[in-house]
Subunit: 463 residues, 2 copies
């Protein structure tokens, strides 16, 4: 990522600074003039820099729809602060303007008393839908869908359909794809707005609709949804219940968030952290501590085995103290080589590029990469040991250099093969492959590298 | 990622198997009947499983538009195989049906002779556009844009605009957003199809268009584009040249690919690999080798310092051989603790959640997390050393246990603070923060952990 040095960004920054200055000087009328020209996402960010005692004042002077739209982009704490301070009437007007999925996203982060306050004032129909949406499990397709979509009947003409959209479209999250349902709300097909515009007014929907569209179930994992969006370049996707009745749609903007969130979870797991729904910046000290300590402890305890191996070979080390100096290099190389392979395979699995059945193909590829890498590493290592390490370590001769180089070669090969197979096996037995990344693999290959090292030592050097 | 066990997926798999069976048995007519009901992305995947000698036959029996659409989803090797085998006339028909950005994506991966063959047969107008698009640098906004968008004039009425879309929309990649330009093609505004549908036929475009829309320059980084799409929930975005003339648009489907690609690059860098544009599965052995060897060598050489530290303390180790057994645990913990912090910060930087100016806030948070984690680790470590390690290592007493625990505590604190600050400093000085992930941080904190260890040893234990 590089710093964004774009004219558009600069204008936004200037406007933001001006508004904050004007607000601080109580020039609200002028501040409003700038605010109404700004994007809702930028306004939401701007609110974070306004002094607390002026937030409400500024929020109230925004036009109704801009207030609601900015509200849906705000961080939870800010949303809570505003909702706890404004009147019931104002809450109603925000909820009315917001899309259903944004309302649910907002309520999911609120404490129970705020949820209650909001639900109390919304109309019974909306309340019922919100309550239903709140019930879907986290990470399910149902939890990210919206209920505001355009519904058509297959007997309609294109002309009817367009009038229907004109009459109801204002409140829909998207009109780019319309959904065709029968009397019992079973999904029968989809029609894009493009198809409607390009068709003749007298054509019948059932003749132009896409039959058997892709859909997912409310309880499917949101990642399943992301998979379809990526595979088929979708912009939206219908969500159905167990009886295949249409209950909502998922739009691409929410899927982009899902992709980012799932990747963050993968990355956290790869670095030995328990993933959570909160972003790093939102987590408190104790939350971050909890995410990390289990892995630190687990890996510390497994390192006992590696320590045990060292202890077992105490005698060899006593005879050849120079051998100790190469342990960090060997273990480091093992971890790096294994980490590279495991992370490459984990990412490839996450992107659906490879499957378990490719395990032989992948191992063979990694083995060849490892052979070449190992050979180069061993060669460089040999010269390094002979000409650099010998400067400050006593007792290094060509035999030691050869032993260390041989250990490096074997370690790289073993680490890479272990590194690439473990994530695939993890996936096969139903574990998350990301668990098999650097910290875990490192611990395993650390131990292996020492075993190899001392095996070679005891074979070659006289004890 | 979990295995997708969805009815839709099953149907696709059944259809794919049926088609392949029918094709292998030369029942092309029946195969075609199933093929025409399938999605182009699935057909592209299906081609990978068809015996090579039948690929052309199957490709030719697809309806023209389905052939072109499947073609744009195919892997490069398959595209090359087909283009090298079909006639010039067939190439023209594919290129005509394909969207400009897909054509360019396809040509970018082809060897020069194939590009030449394709360009030779396309009409001069298309050839000119393709040549221009091919010139944009990799990873620039220009390289992922398409030139097929709907252009409107601001004097048009809504009625005019809709007729214009009906007349030209078939060939456009999207009609969901239309772009308003003056005579010299300067971008003046955008109008969504929703706005057009919901407005009165006599309204004038200039009255309903969004003025000052977000745009980016052809030479901006594609990541800048991704940043805007995420921040403002966009579906498409105009791309302009230095004179602010509209030259193309970027659509969300391409941005989803950019996000995945940039994340893969970050992950590769975090695991000590040089990122490349190719996916893991497409890379050859030598390419993968090249991506990895530099880092392996670099880290091996830096591990020399760590080895040097060990060599320096040879005397202490000779007096207390039991101390050697704790080195892997200490170094492992240092790497894990530092890796957790650095990866959390790198991801947070990539998601634009934090900036360099947050460095004190982040360090303070990490220091507190580290203090709590370090305390717990030290406590567990103390009991582990006393009751587990003492079983197989001679010469462990309470002083050794205390020394090791103190070293663990200090190591965790130091590793976490170093781990969180390094990526932020890297970003500040213009490096990619992802470089400061596990392998690099591990090497640094490995050395630091040994220095701490031996410092405590020489303070506490008599030499």
């Amino acid at each position: 990522m590089e710093i964004l040095e774009n004219i558009t960004e600069n204008i936004i920054e200037l406007k933001t600074e001006d508004v904050i200055e004007l607000v601080c000087a109580d020039h609200y009328v002028d501040a409003r003039k700038i605010l109404v020209t700004m994007n809702e996402a930028d306004i939401a960010l701007l609110f974070e820099e306004i002094p607390e005692e002026k937030i409400l004042r500024v929020f109230r002077m925004l036009p109704k729809n801009l207030a609601a739209e900015s509200f849906s982009y705000m961080k939870s704490e800010l949303q809570q602060f505003i909702v706890e301070s404004i009147t019931e009437r104002e809450i109603v007007s925000i909820v009315d303007e917001m899309f259903m999925d944004d309302t649910v996203d907002f309520l999911e982060e609120m404490p129970a008393n705020v949820v209650k306050k909001v639900l109390k004032v919304t109309d019974p129909e909306t309340r019922k839908i919100i309550n239903q949406l709140l019930k879907y499990p986290d990470d399910s397709a149902g939890s990210i869908m919206t209920t505001e979509y355009v519904d058509l009947k297959k007997e309609m003409t294109v002309r009817d359909a367009i009038s229907h959209i004109r009459a109801t479209g204002v409140d829909k999250e998207t009109i780019n794809t319309c959904y065709v349902m029968d009397e019992k709300r079973h999904l029968e097909g989809t029609v894009s707005i493009r198809k409607l515009i390009l068709s003749q007014p007298d054509e019948i929907i059932s003749d132009i609709m896409t039959e058997e569209p892709m859909y997912i179930y409310t309880h499917d994992d949101q990642e399943t949804g992301a998979h379809y969006f990526k595979k088929y370049d979708l912009l939206s996707m219908p969500v159905v219940d167990a009886e295949k009745r249409l209950v909502g749609i998922i739009t691409i903007d929410d899927i982009v968030d899902v992709i980012e969130q799932e990747t963050t979870e993968d990355i956290e797991m790869m670095a030995g952290m328990t993933p959570s729904d909160k972003s790093y910046i939102e987590e408190g000290v104790i939350e971050t501590f909890k995410k990390r300590i289990i892995w630190l402890l687990l890996l510390m305890l497994t390192a006992t085995f590696t320590g045990g191996i060292l202890a077992t070979f105490e005698t060899s080390l006593a005879v050849y103290p120079a051998l100790v100096a190469f342990i960090p290099m060997l273990m480091g190389t093992a971890g790096n080589a294994g980490g590279q392979s495991s992370v490459a395979v984990i990412r490839s699995l996450a992107l659906d590029e490879i499957e378990f059945r490719d395990i032989l193909k992948i191992s063979w590829k990694e083995a060849r990469v490892a052979a070449v890498s190992g050979a180069v590493m061993a060669l460089v290592c040999f010269f390094k040991v002979m000409f650099i390490d010998s400067l400050y370590t006593h007792g290094i001769d060509i035999v030691v250099a050869l032993v260390v180089s041989a250990a490096i070669f074997s370690t790289v090969v073993l680490a890479k093969v272990v590194g690439c197979t473990m994530p695939m096996i993890a996936k096969k037995i139903g574990l998350d492959p990301a668990v098999m990344a650097s910290p875990f693999i490192t611990t395993i290959v650390d131990a292996l590298s020492l075993l190899i090292y001392f095996a070679i030592v005891s074979m070659v050097l006289p004890m």
